[in-house]
């Protein structure tokens, strides 16, 4: 049976409810089941078995931000591909040329980032 309109989202809702229930129940059962004897060493953050050093609030290098920003730009680009892929057979070559232009403009950005060394990982 094909569901139409909003009722086709009922399976999604069921999935959401089940996955939420699983997560909640796992934590709940764990809390009820496990013995609880906390002490200072047990509560300290685990850092490969050695004594934790410094603070968790450490500043990261801005290089990560470039990657996130580039990811965001190409993520948005990929989003434009979805509706294009759906209607591609109806619009034809015109849509194809449009998308090629779109991707070329963004490729310029990728080439620029590459040439500037934004994609190399230096320390």
């Amino acid at each position: 049976m094909l569901l139409s309109g909003l009722s086709s989202y009922i399976p999604v809702l069921v999935f959401m409810a089940i996955s939420g229930a699983i997560g909640f129940l796992m934590l709940l059962i764990g809390r009820l089941w496990r013995p609880s004897h906390p002490y200072k060493e047990k509560l300290s953050p685990y850092e490969c078995g050695i004594e934790p050093e410094g603070d968790a609030w450490e500043r990261v290098i801005p290089r990560y931000y470039v990657y996130a920003m580039l990811f965001l730009a190409f993520d948005v680009e990929a989003l434009f591909l979805f509706p294009w892929a759906i209607v591609f057979d109806k619009i034809g070559w015109f849509a194809f040329i449009e998308m090629v232009l779109f991707i070329i403009v963004l490729l310029i950005g990728l080439v620029y980032a590459w040439a500037k060394g934004a994609l190399d990982w230096r320390y």
């Binding site: 920003m69 989003l79 449009e98 991707i103 500037k116």
Partner: protein, 172 residues
């Protein structure tokens, strides 16, 4: 039934966005923002805007949140006096909040007539089917210029990010 879900998701959105501004810890604020984006996406689905909902999850709850987390990790949040910084702009915030509240009140007073109004998208959607297909058809025929302009804007964003990060690194 549909009103019940609308009430549920909008309540979650309102509570979560309140938690965003009220959170003591900045990472908690970001996590509540994810909840806000998600419930807004659910509202988009209920309005029949599935493509927008997918974008909301993929770009906002995914990429933008990563960007926020990185931005938080870049600065030393612990040493920042966030409260003193924000309380400076309290008067401006009150004014802006009042303007937005007045806008929402106006919409409310018009008894949601905009919900009945059918834009070009809604009309085509009934004719052509899926939401993404309608967006595709309109975007790649009638709205080519904004679409190609989007690529230029993305290019500017890429170049801007690279320039900012590279110059910052050279200075450091």
């Amino acid at each position: 039934m549909i009103h019940l879900f609308f009430l549920m998701f909008s309540l979650i959105a309102v509570i979560a966005s309140w938690r965003v501004v009220a959170a003591k810890h900045i990472i908690h604020a970001v996590l509540w923002l994810v909840v806000t984006f998600f419930s807004t996406a659910c509202l988009f689905v209920m309005l029949g805007a599935e493509f927008l909902a997918a974008i909301q999850i993929l770009v906002y709850a995914g990429a933008i949140i990563i960007l926020y987390v990185f931005a938080i990790m870049l600065v030393n949040v612990k040493d920042l006096d966030i409260k003193a910084h924000f309380h400076k702009h309290r008067r401006l915030a009150k004014l802006l909040g009042l303007v937005i509240f007045a806008e929402l009140g106006l919409v409310f007073l018009q008894r949601f007539t905009f919900l009945q109004a059918k834009g070009p998208l809604a009309v085509q959607q009934a004719e052509w089917g899926g939401n993404s297909e309608v967006i595709g058809r309109l975007l790649y025929t009638d709205y080519i210029l904004p679409f190609e302009l989007a690529s230029i804007i993305l290019l500017v964003a890429i170049i801007g990010a690279v320039v900012l990060a590279i110059t910052q690194e050279k200075r450091a």
